[in-house]
Symmetry: C2
Subunit: 397 residues, 2 copies
């Protein structure tokens, strides 16, 4: 810091003050609203890039976040802090305004992401090892609740598909136990958990954007399990039973992801496992209303926030492609080959832009969604997930 | 400023520096995320209170905003700036982080609110006098487009129900001309406007949260006009024709308001004009599916963001009451009498809190929505509208 040698030469206190004030001033980052901020996971380096997606530029990098393979992020309600969940069980609270790690803990041996409570006070991690969920104080990262995913004869299950619900409840699925559980953390000292049968090997799940319907995809059998979290006493029901998962001998190269972005205009657009199809479900009847043939095995099927387009990326070896579905025609309206290893997409809040990570090009690509025109290319080292702060305002994100 | 007398005593430059640095530091507000900020309109004083709704406290007041009767607010995409539209045609850009007016213009003689474009670059005002819309640069407030609401023989209509659509388009209704118009401002120098018949005296309107369906309420006849903005070539259609507006001899004490908050769980909850009813419409068929009797003439009918509750306030003389509708039973589940002159409500992004303005109690009341328990009372001078920054991320807000 430039003030140091000058301070060393100081003779009179008064002469030193300028440097002290200078240091104090320098420690404050520029004022900015947090609504345009986001993070890009740079997996290979265990760091994140902080971006301003309104100005379409990188602001800073923050390192020391551990193993960020399959990392995911949730945001504090004020949009200032990103909670980064690492595969190694690391949970880091990153200050986006000061571009630094505010706090970091290692909370499990093998973790697969997390969620934040309706009131923003609880950050919850879903863990493979030891199987279960843990709730932390969003301010301090102090452990507030440890809810093991016990089942059968003292076994513990991997947890997937964690989503926040109203009333500081969380829904999640137990891969090994074939269950959906809802844990009420409104009093973190006394978690209350309800259990529901789901089917064989729920591998991921989503909650509808209104926080009502929780849907778990099944790897071990056809179909998905649906739970109305407003009326959990009704139990789960099977939807899309027999859509054909496993019927085709296609190997599954990458498990698809499910999130609230699958819901648009009264329909759910769901990736079929092992098939080159997007399944379309009516969210009033929960009946299948169509299947849309796509280029390969879908991984992310994401509706633009206004639901006017559905973007799809694919598993290896077709992970250089993107397709856009028009919900009016229920057909693919555009096919793009933007780069190598397209791992993730993130839309701006009102959907005019989409940011795309092209891992093997070491680039993040920004597209205008209406024209599918490339607006900008930003350098990034092996980028995977991209997360914008508007997620702080949505359930299930 | 304390530095001044000290500076006057300065002998050597070096001795003055501390005070200069001190002044520089003091000019910067504390760092904070903008996601928890909001403004409360203090109508009688022509000022707004800046609040932190996560901490549930007032941060500052900003005065000099003119006539704020029927004032409304939109936010910049980064959540830092509030654009305050005054009834007197004033448009003020308020910096929420520094609590000051960044820019202010008077753009019309009589204005009734505004909207912000999908990309956040255009702020658009809807005016009664002169009737039309005007688009301004969100950064500088420079006038970019003036689109008069001309009709008939050189007349100009009052404009109501302005809402942002995808592609930097804006939908609005012409009270006097009985039209809905969509103006494409993707090139502000060359606005392109489409015209659609609406019916007699559209008084307000909403766009569904996905930005697709634009619905104008009619004062001059029964029913509402619906336009699919994804397929405007199909034109408008009438919904809820003959729900009874005007059939009952009830005087209309206050016009109801329409916004995207009326849509929840595949249904629209619409205030009936002059009747003690909330009308329920299926958003797939746009057919009426029910009517919910309420205490008085509804003014705001607002779904909690997750759609689990619908809150209703009422026109004079029953404007001290609130009712909560349960969308599962389609019945009133709670009736509250929280204060005097309940003018407006604003929910937190995930709906666990609602802020309520009680004008004649000079108070803002904060309720826990699940229990309807009063959490806090904040002093405010004749509060009317309450607006939180998460509106920046939603279409039609």
């Amino acid at each position: 810091m430039p003030a140091i040698p000058a301070l060393a030469r100081c003779r009179r206190l008064l002469a030193c003050l300028p440097f002290l004030f200078l240091a104090a001033c320098a420690s404050q980052a520029p004022l900015r609203g947090s609504g345009g901020l986001g993070v890009v996971i740079e997996r290979a380096d265990g760091q994140v890039q902080i971006v301003d997606h309104l100005a379409r530029r990188s602001l800073a990098s923050v390192a020391g976040l551990g193993d960020l393979s399959h990392a995911s992020v949730v945001f504090s309600r004020d949009g200032r802090y990103a909670y980064v969940f690492g595969r190694d069980g690391g949970l880091s609270k990153v200050d986006l305004l000061q571009a630094r790690v505010e706090r970091r803990i290692v909370q499990a041996g093998n973790s697969i992401g997390g969620a934040i409570s309706q009131d923003g006070r609880l950050v919850v991690a879903q863990n493979y090892e030891p199987g279960g969920i843990k709730a932390f104080d969003a301010e301090t990262l102090e452990l507030l609740a440890d809810v093991p995913a016990d089942y059968g004869d003292g076994q513990r299950s991997k947890v997937v598909g964690l989503a926040d619900l109203s009333g500081n409840r969380f829904a999640y699925a137990l891969f090994d136990a074939g269950e959906i559980r809802i844990t009420d953390l409104s009093d973190p000292k006394q978690p209350r958990t309800q259990r529901f049968s789901a089917g064989k090997q729920p591998y991921d799940a989503l909650v509808t954007p209104d926080g009502r319907y929780y849907i778990a995809g099944l790897f071990g059998e056809d179909g998905l399990a649906l739970l109305d979290t407003w009326q959990p006493e009704l139990g789960t029901r099977r939807i899309l039973a027999g859509y054909g998962r496993g019927e085709a001998p296609l190997p599954v190269y990458k498990m698809p992801h499910l999130r609230g972005w699958a819901i648009a205009g009264g329909r759910a657009y769901l990736p079929a496992i092992g098939r080159h199809e997007v399944l379309v479900v009516d969210t009033a009847s929960w009946q299948e209303v169509g299947r849309i043939p796509v280029k390969s095995q879908p991984v992310f099927v994401m509706a633009r926030p206004d639901g006017r387009q559905i973007w799809v990326n694919f598993a290896f070896p077709d992970n250089g492609w993107l397709q856009v579905i028009d919900p009016l025609t229920q057909q693919v309206s555009a096919t793009l080959q933007p780069g190598q290893a397209i791992l993730h997409l993130e839309f701006s809040a009102k959907g005019e832009q989409v940011w795309v990570s092209a891992r093997d090009d070491n680039a993040v690509l920004v597209f205008d969604t209406a024209s599918q025109r490339l607006l900008q290319t930003l350098p990034a080292r092996s980028p995977s997930g991209i997360f914008f702060t508007q997620r702080a305002f949505r359930m299930g994100f």
